[in-house]
Symmetry: D2
Subunit: 333 residues, 4 copies
């Protein structure tokens, strides 16, 4: 860590600061310049609260050199993490496509879609049972019953399943779920992160709507610090001033996350844009930018399309998308 | 609700849409224009999923006329809600100042600050026991022990206390806490909102970093729909591109929220800016804009200031701030 | 246009509004509902100021149905616009790569890079002569001299050239420049847009850092309304809260703009990210998402790399990127 | 400036960097740590391109210690700048209220409003003659004719006048205008800034919709570096994700700008919110936060209110607002 101290700083102030730093195990080296003094900090710098130092009158800048994330940091784990889920693999050159309906509704619906997306090339089945809804008056999902239906679809198709958890109390319900998803709104629900860190489930962590990549990795760090290193990062769009799309897919997040971390990175083009017609171009862009997988909403029943989400595509569209992804991957990677 | 349909829409498509709407209890009136048709929807329009309708090829626009929040909507409750907490009142012309340290650390610390801020004019004591931290390696608060210390300070000073909850599992610990705070990161932790809606505690709900005012009220709605109408709204800064301040205090949120809702609105200038020197101007601005209260971080021990948060002010600063607030309120309201 | 009027509106108010609307050539149809009245407006609705109507006490919502952009609107021009620049074509299935240095520095530099990028597959040469710099103390470009050097490179290589203009006064200097670029900071410099609309140059219009797609098209509209329809739209990243990258490339803007407009859309991955290592993944993503071209910064002299921009790549990297783009385009389009 | 170099950096790389820095007049001091080396740069550090250094593989961080703005920097000019405009003064404890219509329409209109706002306590008259409009199809202002009408109102009332300029070509038209306004969209129209820096007019510079405070001061710097030090900074709202208000007034910008710079800071509550009902609370908040002035849109003719902007208030509202501002200033300052 580096602290830049004003030229107006009094020697006594500097002395007090150095003593305090020494007291918490930090060694301080000074370098006197024209307009101030540079303090180079070595040792137990993780004990130093940057914001607190920054708040001192005579301090102009504090710069943290070490990244605050460790377990997820590529610097300390140069090789890509490869996560195995049933027969699927993710990361390190392995690509996975997760597909399924927004909400689980009935045995027929989930099993129908499961078969369709499996046939189209999906490696895992997604489906919402516990639904985070902005309004308390909206449908909140089939909850435990929805998980049961997903497990039926798993049994029939052999696909691994992915579903979102909303609170610690329902962890037991997810006992046979292969991948537990943490939604964007819960990315900084730290108690939930810690608890899931104590399980041996694969965790699919979605980026919060207004969270930086650094904060995203710090949330992965919560899970990993509790003992569970099987974390998949999922970019799903951030909130910006633009209103033409529901969110703005941060495509740069893919190469940036892969540079910062060894964890696999997937993209959810359905929620990013909120429009079915954008799923294809965004999914292709994600693959070209190096994503390790995609998660796509697919609905089953063209006759009932009226009741499916605006961001869902049909099984046929998904199948043709999988074909195009295959082609891009074959020429690029 | 109004649906604007394209001129290219086929009569059959329009017919299907109308039938489907009738089926869910919605009456449809058409108005034919040059470039399309306007459908006016009456009846059970809350059953209509706007995004789904919007996704239909032949629909150009869907406009929801009724606001989705009800219990918190001023339209249905024209009078300001006044919340009583011990001897303090908030809303409807009653102003409250909540003050205290970032984290509860020890009996001496919390009781010392409690006396100081009470003497300076604070009506409630705040203190963090369960601390949401971006990093798993940062101090997570004294947790239950911190609540105990707050209760000691309450007993000694008679002040009502405010503290943040982080998950449902610790609700019991908050039995004697007067006001339970839901932090910005948990504003859309819907399970927590529902559970707190089943208690009879006053809830201080902070706006999420990237949440609109409408979403903010929808979260209040979760609490109120579960039966608890004692909700205080707290603006604490939103995330923008500006980096000179930690967050951007959305001062317009005060008059807007008071127009949209009857609930009391307070402001937290300490977290908004992240700099002690901005607490005073932002607190005064909030009062002038019509806030029903402020929540301010105050630290106690000038000698140990090094260890307090960068956004905390000293008891003396808080006292002089309270004097200025009193003056503004006496000339304006 | 649709106006939704409150149930509390007095008949006299409604009558006055209708008369005023009739007076400006607008026909009004009413539809009475439970909680208010829907007014459908037909005729010269472009005369109606939405914000003004919205500000009336008794109006709850105003919805504009027609898009405000006309010349650039795909609805009225279903076919892709194809722009010809020398031997290059852009749009309607034609892809163009524009490459060159951040700033034009010398004959050797610009001619050297020109040959290198031409050999690598670039169809046009870019180079900054007039440089918009945040600081008045930074290098402002070689200005007219820089344009001369670009013209030399054009003569030698036969490549069409692209360079940025900063004010009306220098239009004469751009007489032989093939494509005039309007930078992000000038996207709403309306006087400049109008003046360039009176020329017969191809205009490369960059999206402003905080401008919506609708505003972007309205700026294209300024150029087109003045008579010049040869406009290329360029997405180059928007400003968000994320600081890991300089800007956030809005990849969804590509399919959205192509849906809204018939104009060609290109992407500048160099400025979007501000990091050389991101140029390749972002360029590939742009191509996969359907961009009609890319504009990339390439520097020439590896020994002097220290002095080139952080977002520039070397000719070799550009060549291999062009190979990958070719592959993606061959399998996708 | 401080450069933090990776431990993996090779000695030769470090040596090359140091030599290059020495070559441009920069002295380099090293400090070896565990995980890397800190380089402290002294001397002509303004010659160093931060982004370029940052782009080097072996560099982890570059930190600029000196602020890039000089003439506008409070560090070098501790006293508030006081700007005199006719009989009005702004800054250093002097408060000014600028009021007038959105657009100048006729002699009657502008002279009528001028008298009304003067009587209500305004010290200057504003009025738009050249209007920046998002759409080329919207009214573009009376242009030169509008300036003539403003000058008539000036002659009659003796008030100084403020009006927006849109390009260099019309500078002559502003010969007798007291304060030339640069709109938000032109904040980084550097050629215009430089040209106005060569005049002796007072310049009212509005903050761009998505510009940081640092960029705002750099634009003031463009004017000052060209010789004109009479710059007034105007906060008018920034673009964020929130859609309830047109823009988000950045109230913290007031104390922050006053800390960073000695220039006067005013606030435009009318454009920030885009709603007449928010003008009063935002103006009061601005005053309480320490603004040196406000600029407010006032319309004259209640009967024609339908045609005035949604953000304009009536003369009576303005008068009562001026009374409240006076009260706040009397108790606070």
């Amino acid at each position: 860590m580096i602290i830049y101290v004003d030229e107006q700083a009094e020697p006594k102030q500097l002395e007090t600061l150095k003593e305090w730093l020494n007291g918490i195990g930090v060694e301080v080296h000074s370098l006197k310049g024209e307009n101030g003094t540079i303090l180079g900090l070595l040792g137990e710098t993780q004990n130093v609260d940057v914001e607190m130092i920054q708040s001192l009158d005579f301090v102009r800048k504090v710069v943290k050199v070490k990244e605050p994330y460790k377990s997820s940091n590529r610097q300390f784990h140069p090789n890509d993490t490869i996560i195995e889920i049933g027969e699927a693999k993710l990361g390190g050159g392995h690509f996975a496509a997760i597909a399924g309906p927004c909400s689980v509704e009935s045995t027929e619906q989930i099993c129908g879609i499961a078969k369709a997306v499996k046939e189209a090339g999906a490696t895992m089945l997604r489906g919402g049972a516990f639904k985070p809804r902005t309004s308390p008056y909206s449908f909140q999902g089939l909850r435990s019953k929805g998980i049961e239906l997903l497990l039926q679809a798993k049994q029939i198709t052999g696909m691994s399943i992915v579903s979102e958890i909303m609170d610690i109390a329902s962890i037991d319900v997810f006992e046979h779920v292969d991948v537990i998803q943490i939604g964007a709104r819960n990315m900084q629900n730290f108690e939930l992160l810690k608890e899931l860190g104590r399980t041996d489930k694969v965790i699919l962590l979605k980026r919060g709507l207004a969270n930086t990549l650094k904060e995203f990795l710090m949330s992965a760090e919560y899970i990993m610090a509790s003992g569970n290193e099987k974390v998949i990062l999922c970019e799903r769009g951030i909130r910006t001033f633009e209103t033409a799309t529901r969110n703005t897919l941060d495509i740069s997040a893919i190469p940036m996350l892969k540079k910062m971390s060894h964890l696999p990175v997937i993209v959810d083009p359905s929620h990013a844009a909120g429009r079915a017609e954008l799923v294809r171009p965004l999914a292709l862009a994600a693959v070209a930018a190096g994503a390790d997988g995609i998660m796509v909403e697919v609905h089953n029943d063209p006759e009932r399309a009226l009741c499916d989400g605006p961001q869902s595509i049909k099984p046929d569209d998904f199948k043709s998308l999988m074909g195009e992804i295959e082609k891009i991957r074959s020429v690029l990677f």
